[in-house]
Subunit: 432 residues, 2 copies
């Protein structure tokens, strides 16, 4: 086994956002033993945290979903970029980890991930060179990239021919749709790419078909769902023709789609193509942490349309909270919090003020009034509007839930995992 | 001298975004000796880089502005959070560094910064405790925080009394405006806070007045400028009354305002208050890198309204570029790039596609056609619309300029500094 050992990272210390400013170098694994409690102000705010009970629930939920649907999971690592969460996802039975860039691939490799699906085109001298070197270095490394142009197939074939990695670079032909992102727009285009890959054996091999259904357009949710059904059929058709023409060099053939909003719909991909078994690999990156808005709405719709999802009982739970202090009460209906664009996602929706807690006085957080709302974020400030009579005061803590885990994780190098009493029981690091 | 030594950070390696995935641990100071060139594809893309000639020009420009205007500069460290840039700014004559949080303060301290202005309220057990400990530990540490409520003055006084740091915690009373962010809305409110600080001697001391004019409202730029003039007069009035009442315990008295868009206007703050000298401290965080949109427009307006700015010759230059590859040309008028929300700011404006370069073919980047535009970003993709006949192809490099340095810096742990031929001549790290 030539796999690179997991490299411990001692870069956590008081300079790391979320840790007490006075602490010296600290290993992530040693954090639980400190006995910290967020509500006792043992950690500075702002602080993004993960709730252990929600993570556990979501992990169990996804395992049940995978087993019921008969699909494999390669969670998109771009969401958390956390070696600890990658390892947890693999221990939970993930087929592999999905990445978008060569840097994400390197982080996954150092976290001990053996099987990686790169759901972006593999492009550029550095990225291509690293993948070929790693294929040559470690026979246990399994890697798949997507490709949607003969132009890139030719570039990859030339690089693989020059590098002589000793085994082929595995590619999935990428399907797309008009007005969409990457991916071949038609079956003919996809087949042209597939044939070009097959013609580049033994340097390249066609291992299956990939697509991303998350941005299929539609004026209504029903239109989008119908569009996704067509897209799934398009992917299956490309796979069938690839098998029929003898272009696919993989058993099982891989069929991969499924972001966090529609992974139930892509389970309609076939489990056999011609005489070949098919492995359907979904790629949800957000299931483990979920959120309180964008993916919460997607999940509610999933339960409506997919009986197998509804039958799993309680759905995914929001596992992410971002806490901050009230730093100012400059007007009767306004509080300014010590968090901002540096600390919490703001691309899909502003955060939701859900909890309040007065240190040294309250025993548990209590719910914020429903009319309390974050109305704006600056780089380092949040504007919280309140009823004019609200007694929220400077030094009180406010807990927010979020919309879009991906753009919250990337604002943190360290996040504690807490129990339901906000005791720190574990920690993760990130590598964005 | 008890100042903590600068701690070298060896956390850069192939897991760090922007560095070749195959490299092992690497000190930032060793990067220049590698002989890397971005156009030779020695570094993976996406890559955010700084242009050395623009940094040098901007540093000279700000020194000339400071000298002409007779103001001091405490650049807001939140912009770059880069120890190397903090040190450069101090070497360029900065009075100190501004921070927003205790984590930013710790990073500044480890970078050897002796004088820090915290332009946020100092709130919470961890933040207050670290500041008091640091004041006790290092007699050379000068620290100023802002405060806008008697509530927080009382909390700070209690903490300072309990900690006995041996010298007072220095505070600036913060001025604000109706509908704004933090800060006292009226002279009466500000004076109440000022009196409360003075009454808490010897644990607290009032060192001056602070405000942030950047969000003064106005339907037109002229209205905003008029509002800022009023706000500056309000700050001066609070300072005058604080001196008259004998509340200010500092010589010179500090008067601080001035973000990156209006720092010319706050130079109207007085250089003497009553019998006391006044030090006017501006806090622009973005002057060193500037941008191509938000601050570029602000700078153009600055030149129009302030002859002293126009007389400095060429204005600030955009020093930040984010480069990525074309990974797909799925439609005649569309290219998909290998960068996204993880790599470039998108809060004020999407990035601007300005340069193109075909590796191995072109000798220099050439200008993108003016109709080429980034129309959307996903987490890891950018959508570039083009003329249908454009020959941009997969593997070509595209260089973008940005709007809002703060939300671009925070997406990178490492950025190379390049000369005009894109040779890597230096590097910075960040600590977000």
């Amino acid at each position: 086994m030539q796999r690179r050992a997991v490299i411990p990272d001692a870069a956590l210390d008081g300079r790391t956002k979320g840790l007490p400013a006075g602490v010296d170098a600290l290993a992530p694994g040693a954090i639980a033993s400190r006995g910290w409690n967020v509500l006792r102000e043992d950690l500075p705010l702002p602080l993004a945290l993960l709730k252990a009970s929600s993570l556990d629930h979501n992990a169990r939920w996804m395992r049940a979903f995978r087993e019921a649907a008969g699909v494999a999971l390669a969670p998109h690592g771009k969401t958390s970029m956390s070696p600890e969460l990658f390892q947890r996802q693999l221990a939970d039975g993930a087929w592999g980890i999905t990445v978008a860039t060569v840097q994400q691939l390197r982080v996954a490799r150092d976290a001990g991930v053996a099987r990686v699906l790169m759901a972006n085109q593999l492009v550029g001298r550095q990225a291509i060179g690293y993948v070929l070197d790693e294929l040559a270095r470690d026979p246990a490394f399994e890697f798949f990239a997507v490709v949607d142009s003969v132009d890139l197939v030719d570039q990859l074939a030339a690089a693989a021919r020059a590098r002589k990695a000793g085994r082929p670079l595995s590619l999935l032909v990428e399907c797309g749709f008009a007005g969409g992102r990457t991916g071949c727009r038609t079956v003919d285009e996809a087949m042209e790419v597939a044939r070009r890959i097959a013609a580049a054996a033994p340097f390249l091999r066609l291992a299956g078909v990939e697509g991303y259904e998350g941005s299929v357009p539609g004026k209504t949710i029903e239109e989008r769902e119908a569009g996704i059904a067509c897209f799934v059929a398009f992917m299956a058709e490309v796979a069938r023709r690839g098998i029929d023409e003898g272009l696919v060099d993989a058993d099982p053939v891989l069929l991969s789609a499924g972001g966090s909003a529609y992974f139930d719909l892509v389970t309609a991909l076939p489990r056999a193509v011609g005489d070949r078994r098919a492995e359907v690999v979904i790629r949800s990156g957000c299931y483990l942490t979920h959120d309180s808005d964008s993916y919460a709405q997607a999940a509610a719709r999933m339960r409506e349309r997919t009986p197998a999802v509804a039958s799993l009982g309680e759905g995914l739970r929001d596992a992410v909270e971002v806490w901050s202090y009230v730093q100012s009460r400059p007007e009767p209906a306004l509080a300014i919090l010590t968090m901002g664009k540096r600390d919490v996602s703001y691309d899909l929706h502003l955060p939701f003020a859900r909890w309040r807690f007065r240190p040294g006085v309250d025993r548990h957080p209590t719910a914020m009034p429903v009319d309390a709302a974050i109305t704006a974020l600056n780089d380092q400030h949040a504007y919280l509007t309140l009823s004019p009579g609200d007694d929220l005061r400077v030094g009180d803590m406010v807990g927010c839930t979020i919309s879009h885990p991906c753009t919250t994780f990337d604002k943190w190098r360290f996040m504690p995992i807490v129990d339901d009493d906000y005791r720190v029981v574990d920690a993760i690091t990130t590598r964005f």
